[in-house]
Amino acid sequence: MTTATTTTAEPRAEELAPVATDTLAALLVAGERPPRPSAWAASAAFGWRAVLKIKHVPEQLFDVTAFPIMMVLMYTYLFGGALAGSTGEYLQFLLPGILVMNVVMITMYTGVAVNTDIQKGVFDRFRTLPIWRPAPMVGYLLGDMLRYVLASIVMVTLGLIMGFRPAGGAVGVLAGVVLLVAFSFAFSWIWTMFGLMLRSEKSVMGVSMMVIFPLTFLSNIFVDPRTMPGWLQAFVNNSPVTHLSSGVRGLMAGDWPAAEIAWSLGWAGALVLVFGTATMRLYNRK
């Protein structure tokens, strides 16, 4: 990166650097073909690509740092007094939930990234490589998992500063984050599907909003579902986001909410099965 500023001004001059055809010939002969990489190795390579992109354009981490901070502050001080009597009280209830909401929300950037990336010529190359087919998609999600972890760290740290005192301690918090990141990995396959299905970045964004807002707000993240009308309770109580936030909340509180964890992971498995398959079908047909 340090050379970028000094050399960009004169690409013309560099154009003159000759192609060493002799060396080239030797390289062509010498090149032997190693065995194909394993599914994991190929996915990891694409994950590395995602990390490199973050390295080159660190501004894109805005949505996993500034945005979550804003959300925590807003909801805590806006609703805290009204809903739980005090902001400190409300934070104990809200933080695991808002963590879930934020991370599930930022999964949707995956769709936009896939949609813009797939249009580029480099994807033609990836698709002509003899590798495990889902590797490029899995690579994206591996890179995104890093973003989910970062967002979690930012929000938990902020919560601790504001007075969040989870009974589960470090282990409970860690377990909650692991469950959340695992679920989000599975959930992201919805976006990879839309990223491949829809024609433009804008339509991906639009559809994502349509899905994500009802799904995250119609849950037990902000309030107890018992205050809701019966028909809404039926939806909310069965929403995967509700199961997930109950699971994360329980783990952070030092409990072992086995049923909620099972529901969350069950949903995760189903999401991968349905949307992972749909994604790969679209990917192969693209």
């Binding site: 154009e15 060493a20 390289l27 002509t128």
Partner: protein, 375 residues
């Protein structure tokens, strides 16, 4: 070692791809011998890229068959992918990564270990003169550098078959020559190259055999010599001193060598197509000698007179013109666009600014880059 039983790198029969109403590829038959450069030539939108994408397993054919080294591109796609590399029309490298990172990523994806990938990447960057730019993001590369990196990525593992889809479109002449050198080096090592291009001189320079594609169909195929011969032995070009003598000159040429006069925008230039031999077995050169003598006798003053094999340009224009009209043999008189004899090269641009016209002299690449951006 790289050849299959048939000695053919690519074999297609009746290959079809339909996009909505358009039959982008409409029954293409190709037989590409292994170990050579095979040129696929055609104007923009002829179906070249679509054909390549089907062969490279990126698009599913809607009809027909395609085999790469004997492997079906649909049923044995993975085997095919193991033997081919693609350098697409739009740089198939990651713009956001540096040149080095691009090659490292690809090395890993091709199964190299960390150290081997680094080694190979370094060697390739060196050979392609990109070492100084290795740690810069590709988006800051010039067109020529991007192309080089693209090709370097394609030969990271030496492929048996390399697809080069319009590799020099938009490059300046120097970069284009360098790409040609690379292609020659690659094919010299036994790799088969399928090259699509709309530049006739490029096909002329590199390709052993050429298929001319237009409107999704192969309209001619053969060696350069065969293609040239198919439109007649060649053309006589002459320049008159006095435009007033043009009708007389045309009459002499038509009589003496059965020449077919082509319309011309320059009143002094005269171009006529001739056959290899006339009805009495006289060669084109003999006919030309006779025509020259007759011109002198009838008092037509000629400044220059030449007889040449038709250029690929003329072949191309004659062929594509024919399909556009949907009539006439290959020797049909092409339209005004096929008049390479115009001095100074100030071709009648805008006169009939078709794809064909652009393909003929659009070396600047400006006109070509805007077309065909994938939807």
């Amino acid at each position: 070692m790289k050849q299959s039983g048939t000695g053919l790198a690519i074999e297609t029969s009746g290959l079809v791809k339909v996009f909505g109403e358009t039959r982008a590829v409409d029954g293409v038959d190709l037989a590409v011998p292994a170990g050579t450069v095979y040129g696929v030539l055609g104007p923009n939108g002829a179906g070249k890229t679509t054909t390549v994408r089907m062969l490279a397993t990126l698009l599913r054919p809607d009809g027909g068959e395609a085999r790469v080294f004997g492997h079906d591109v649909l049923r044995e796609a993975d085997t095919v992918r193991g033997r081919v590399s693609l350098t697409g029309q739009y740089a198939s490298v990651d713009e956001d990564l540096t040149g080095l990172e691009n090659l490292l990523l690809l090395g890993r994806l091709l199964g190299h270990g960390k150290r081997a990938a680094r080694e190979r990447a370094g060697e390739l960057l060196e050979a392609f003169g990109l070492t100084a730019a290795a740690t810069r993001q590709v988006k800051n590369y010039s067109g020529g550098m991007r192309r080089r990196l693209d090709i370097a990525a394609s030969i990271l593992n030496t492929p048996d078959l390399l697809f080069l889809d319009e590799p020099t479109t938009g490059l300046d002449p120097r970069s284009r020559n360098q790409v040609w050198d690379i292609v020659r080096a690659v094919v010299a090592q036994g790799t088969t190259v399928l090259l699509t291009t709309q530049y006739l001189d490029e096909a002329d320079q590199l390709a052993a055999r050429i298929a001319v594609i237009d409107h999704g169909k192969v309209i001619a195929e053969g060696t350069k010599g065969e293609l040239k011969a198919s439109v007649g032995a060649g053309a006589v070009h002459l320049r008159l001193r006095d435009a007033a003598q043009r009708p007389a000159a045309e009459k002499v040429l038509t009589r003496a060598m059965n020449a077919r006069i082509q319309p011309d925008h320059d009143p002094l230039a005269l171009t006529a197509r001739v056959d290899a031999t006339d009805g009495n077995g006289h060669s084109a050169a003999e006919q030309a000698a006779r025509a020259l003598a007759e011109l002198a006798r009838s008092g037509v003053v000629v400044d220059t007179f030449s007889l040449g094999q038709p250029s690929l340009d003329e072949v191309f224009l004659a062929l594509t013109d024919r399909t556009a009209d949907g009539a006439g043999p290959a020797t049909a008189t092409p339209g005004p666009a096929a008049t390479p004899a115009i001095p100074g090269g100030d071709a009648p641009d805008g006169q009939d600014g078709t794809d064909v016209q652009e393909g003929k002299d659009g070396q600047d690449g400006q006109d070509h880059t805007k077309e065909g951006i994938p939807a």
